[in-house]
Structures are given as structure tokens and as C-alpha cells.
Amino acid sequence: MATMTSGRHGIIRVGRRPGRDRGDVRAQRNSLRRTVFLVPGIALLGLLGVYPLIQLVWMAFHRVTSATINSGPWEWVGLDNFVQGFQLGETGPAITRTLVVVAIVTVFGMVGGFAAAVALRTSGWWSSALLALMVFVWALPPVVNGSVWKFLLSDNGLVNAIVMALGRSTPIPFLYDTNWALLSVAFVGAFAVIPFNALVFRAALLAVDPEIFEAAALDGVNRWGEVRHIMMPSVRPTSLVLLVLTMVYAFRSFDFIFVMTYGGPGTATNTLPFLGFLQAFARFNFGYGAATSVLAVIVVLVLAVIYARSIRKEEA
């Protein structure tokens, strides 16, 4: 991990453990006293982070509708909400759709991010301007990116204009066909995550000692060889963390679905998180929506554990 210690680049920073080899008793006492700095965070995240999470699980085991949401006690229904989701055939397909989105966003996000980083590694005005452009698009509100892609992918939109100029006679129903719609929202998700991944990969590439490239050039290594034998190995430690983060991003994404398809056509873009949202706020069956969301939470918990372990490992 020595390559990752250079400055503020890179996703993980290897810092020296504070006060490890000094007077341990004093450090222990100082460490304990500094817990007081955590108090505002504990208050806010306890009330509006942890408590809602517990409440979500509680709601999942009860019948909660718009009539009863503000007046308890709620009727205990055990696992009924979960069973209903599978019996009505909503949860299963939603899980499949979520996996499709995660697969597409992850593959395109990682490959596209790495390709962009390789291209942006070179110096010059074009690279600088392109990097700035990509970071700007990343910073735009998701509703802005979602609206413009809804426009570009419409029947008369730019993408279809190009497709038809290339010889297709009818427009591709990007947002109206059940299969295309899911691919479209996944593609826009990848589009939105590539700039961030490119930044992370670029930081890892810039940390490579230039002498390694010089030595490779002397040995007659070609460009593909540089990518394959220098760049890919040097981003490997970063890619593991980035992979998890991209999967989490893909899994929890809902904004492009909200803006571009609102879960449709039919149920075509009802991913697990979005399905829970619709069950709660379109059908006003909050307990049912909570149950679906609990399933979504369980999946991200697995990813969160992998992520947290990798942070600890890098810092140890």
C-alpha cells in the first residue's frame, strides 16, 4: 500500500496511528476524553439515522396504512408483509431487476472509469478540460442529468436521430419497452458514476513512480503492455474498495428511475429499493413497503461489512 500514501489522492489514506508509541496511559485518557466530540453526531444520527432504521424493521412486521401510520398501536402481522411480497410475485422480479442494474452499472462504471483514467492521465489542456467537464456533470443534480437523458432517449431525441441516421427505420423505444427501459436507467446510472471512478483510478495512476514507465519504455514495452503490466496492477488495491462502493451506489440508486420511468413501463424498472418506495407512498401500505425495504437494507449491510472491513484493513 506504500503507493497510496502520497498526499490527498487515493481513496484510502495510510496515516500513522496517533500516539501509539507514546505514553500509553496518557494517550488512553486523551482518547477517552475526546469522545465528547462525537456527541453532536450521536445525537443527530441516533434520532434520525438509527432510530428510523429500527422503526423501519418494526413497521415491516406490522400492518401500517395511511389510516394508522400516525396512530398506534399497529397490528402485529409477523412475516405476512414479506410473504405477501413473494406471493404476489413482486419481490422476486424486483430482486432480478436490481441485480441486472447492479451488474450493468458495475461493469460499465468500473471499465469506463478505468478507461477514462488512462485517457486522462496524459498532460495537456484537453485532459484537464475533459476531467473538469466530467466532474461538473457528476456534480449536477440527478434530476438535471435524468431530465436530459429522458430527452436524449425520447422517440425524437438525439440518440434515436443518430440510430435512424445509421439506417434503422423506427426509433428504439428506450423508455417505453420493458427491457430497454431497465437497460436505459442502468446506463444513465453508469454514466453518472464514471467520473467519480475515473477520479479515483486517476489518483492511483498518478501515484505510480514515473521511473517505472521509463524503465518499461527502455525495455520496449508498448502502450498495451503499459496498461496491462503497470497500470492495472497499480490500481488493483483501489479497485476492490471502489468495486464495493460502485455496487452500493448501483444498488441504492433510485433518482434516475424516479425521473426517467417512475418504475415503469408497468413494473419494468421497479428495483428493490424503488418497489418499497412505491408500495409505501403510491399504495400507502407502509408496512408492506417497509418489508421490501428491509430486504434491500439486508443486501447493503453485506456490502457495508465488506467496505468497513477494507477500511480497517487499509488503516491497520
Binding site: 496517533p18 462525537l38 484537453w126 449536477l140 438535471v144 425521473v259 413497503g289 457495508a304
Partner: protein, 271 residues
Amino acid sequence: MNTKAGPVNIALKVLFTLMYGLPILRIVQTSFTSSADVFNAQSNLFFRPTLQAYVNNLDASLFIALRQSVIIATGTTVLVLLVAVPAAYGLARVRGHVATIGLGLLVVLQTLPQTAQIIPLFQILGMWGLLDTIVGVVLANAALLAPFATLLLRPFFRSVPIALEEAGAIDGAGMFRQFASIALPIARNGILTVSSITFLLAWGEFLYSVRFLLTPANRPLSVLLAMQVSAFGIDWPGLMALAVLTSLPILAVFLLTYRLLRDGLTVGAVK
């Protein structure tokens, strides 16, 4: 290092420039097109520019939405900083189980789907009488973004040498004094980076605002945009003009803080 661009390199750059440049060009171009011309102009770069879409958008409700966006984004940023700055410092200095549990919890909260958090929050904010209030949205936003902000800030505080604080202690500075006059100034770039990102994210947030703010006069720009785009029979120039207007403050923040974003964004977390 071989920094000259080869053919593959140039092809990649063309591809990414088109991929990220064209959407921006299309937003701006369409916003200056008349509704009648919108799909004619699609394959045609020559069109009659008009300010009609902007004129149509510029009414009292737009300014109310703009004000709401400013209040929500600023309020969220301030609250997140008040919580995340001390928490990040604390987690950079505290050791043992407290740090492990704290970090684990932050990672879990950061990865939760927002659509899962909104269901219980709707009930809880209702119980507290905070639905349809800006305070409710700011609190929910702050809870959404604080874990990310804290994880991003912590490495900046970890890089403050502990010896500096110990020297301060010898000079008689107490714990809070060490934090305020030694650690804070050194971590300044990190705090600016996190402020900028929090503002950008809070400006674009729309799900909480759509659900929690029921009175139209309370809604920020992001909600106006989200509701227009899902409406039947979209007026594209009007929508794109609104998108441009919503993005202008983002452009301002971006221009001011681009270097910080580029170098600081990748330190500890993900959007």
C-alpha cells in the same frame, strides 16, 4: 512517464468528450429553442434562438423555489458541518471499540438506500409535527449526508500530527483549544471540500422534499424539476431552461471549488 497521447488514447478522449459534452450542449441549446422548433432542431444545429422558455419560467413561483433551495442547501450544509467536523476529529483521535463501532455505524448509515429511510422518517417527522416544514427537510438531509461528510473528513484530521497537539498541551492549551486552534486550521481544505460537496448534494436532493413538503410554495427547484419531468406532455424547452437555472448555482460552486473537489473527493467515500 509516457504522457504523449496515442491513437487509442485520443479515441477514448473523443468518446468521453462527446458522452459528457453533448448532454450539456443539448440542455443549453434546447433551453434557447421555441417549443415549436424543438424536434426540428434535434438534428439541426442551426435554429432560431429565443429566450421564450426562460421568460415563461421566470415567475414568482420560481423565485420562491430558488429561495427554498438556498435555505435548504445552506441549512443542511451548516448542520452537517456542525456535526461532522467534531465527529470526524473525534473519530480520528479516539481509539479502540468506540472508533470501531462509530466507523461501522457510519458506513452502514451511508450505504442505506434513501428510499428505505424515507418510510420511517415520514412517520417520525409526522409524529414530531415537522412534515411540510423546512426544518424537517433540513434535519432529514443532514442525517442523510452527515455519515458521508464524516467519513470524508476523518482522514484530513488523521493527517494532523498528534505532536502538534501535544506541543499545544504543553503550552497550556486545553482539549477544545487544541481542536480549534491547531487541528481545525490544518484540516481547512478538507472542511472546504466537504462543505462544497454537501452543498451540491443538498441542492440536488429531491426525494425528501417531494414527500415531506406538501405545500407547493415550500418546494425547492429540484422538486419543480422532478415534477415537470414526470408530467404528461413535457414542454422540453421549458424543462431544459429550468434545468439550466437549477444548475447555475452548481456551476458557481463548482468553479470556486473545482481543485478541492478533484483532489479531495477521492479521499474517503463515494457519492
